[in-house]
Symmetry: C2
Subunit: 245 residues, 2 copies
């Protein structure tokens, strides 16, 4: 029974998140339904990251086992055909090793958060960015971000509903840069806690506003208490860019 | 009576084009209505380029005269407030010289056309790109594009309904480059004929497919006949990026 590795792009606005839920369409359900339409198999698709409602993906990775030995390109094209008009596409498909696991084999996940930072609201990017009209100090944000890099107890930036056993995570990269009227924040780690990226971005926004310094951010991290971690940035600015194996 | 120069971003999908028309909402109408709501003045807004239905803008420029001497920032914020929820925003506003004319003072217009060139349909960019699933030869397109640069009679790439007096135009730049799964075509000229960019892109796509060579493109140009100019690329991939004065 061949295992397929699928790389996925989706628009988070159209879904309640990756995972099947009773309250609306999920990315997982859209894919499993499209696969059933294609080959009549009832499957479970496993993803590297269970993104929340509103969070987008350019490079989510999932795996699925199919009984028939379809060429990967056939799987890609057929699933894309049956996904229409859902806002998901299989960007690439390949036959993977049977030991490959989209979630557990992942060595790194890269997220990008985009803030449009100008007085005018975003138009062509609406729904895919966080609009912050008041000028943020991106240099201060970039400097403060280094406080979070490394292995830490990230309880202060972890959602109350997070199910991970340990709040310890190793953040390999947290880069902030201004690109004209936008600020892009890239975060990379083996894995993240629930809402960790959005909570770190919310805290960095406070730094950009001058409300917090890097020392405040360090104190928030040391507090190991979500109540000290600052606000949560909205889902719409977040994109799962890549998963590395 | 101060004249204001407005730089505009809009999503072409929501409009019948720049110009007021009876068959649906135009960008011009959205702006004039928002200005009326703001200051009760009935105005005519003049744009650098009258973009077609579906064509987007990141840097359209328009001018408008307002009787009261509002600060430019007030005009920007108030018009943006009253534009909601229309897919238009005033990205910047400044007081201009009374002799400034958005259309006639323009020295150059820059358009960008984006093709998503991969087997999977676009998701996060749908409605803002042309999807061409089969691999195009971007290098061949870039080389052929040089045939069109310079001062030429562009009748072969001009819409039948074009109202310009002369088909002569000077194309200053036509650059094609691949960026991962996308091909971006940038065109710059003092002015363009109706559909000129979309028609040039349609012809370049034939070159990318191997259906035409640079010699075919040169012959098409020399024919001075729209019937020899190849297809018209869809509006949705086109963005008016900037107007230079």
């Amino acid at each position: 029974m061949p295992r397929y590795k699928l790389t996925l792009e989706y628009d988070g606005r159209d879904f309640v998140g990756w995972q099947r839920q009773d309250n609306g369409p999920s990315v997982q359900q859209a894919l499993e339904t499209a696969i059933h339409r294609f080959c009549r198999e009832t499957v479970t698709v496993v993803a590297a990251g269970r993104t929340d409602a509103g969070v987008h993906a350019l490079g989510q990775v999932a795996h699925v086992d199919l009984a028939a030995g379809w060429p990967a390109r056939t799987v890609q094209n057929a699933v894309n055909f049956h996904l229409k008009p859902a806002a998901v596409a299989v960007v690439s498909a390949e036959v993977a090793d049977p030991a490959f696991h989209a979630r557990f084999s992942a060595r790194a996940r890269t997220y990008r958060y985009r803030i449009v930072n100008r007085p005018a609201p975003p138009v062509l990017e609406r729904g895919r960015v966080w609009w912050v009209p008041r000028r943020l100090d991106a240099a201060a944000m970039a400097e403060a971000a280094t406080v979070l890099i490394g292995r830490h107890d990230f309880t202060s930036f972890r959602a109350a509903i997070c199910q991970a056993k340990s709040p310890l995570r190793t953040l390999d990269r947290l880069a902030v840069r201004r690109r004209d009227d936008a600020i892009e924040i890239e975060a990379e780690a083996r894995s993240f806690l629930h809402h960790q990226v959005r909570n770190m971005v919310g805290a960095l926004k406070w730094v950009g506003e001058g409300r917090w310094t890097a020392a405040h951010l360090a104190a928030a991290l040391a507090a190991r208490n979500r109540a000290h971690g600052g606000p949560t940035a909205p889902a719409e600015g977040l994109v799962l860019v890549a998963v590395t194996y």
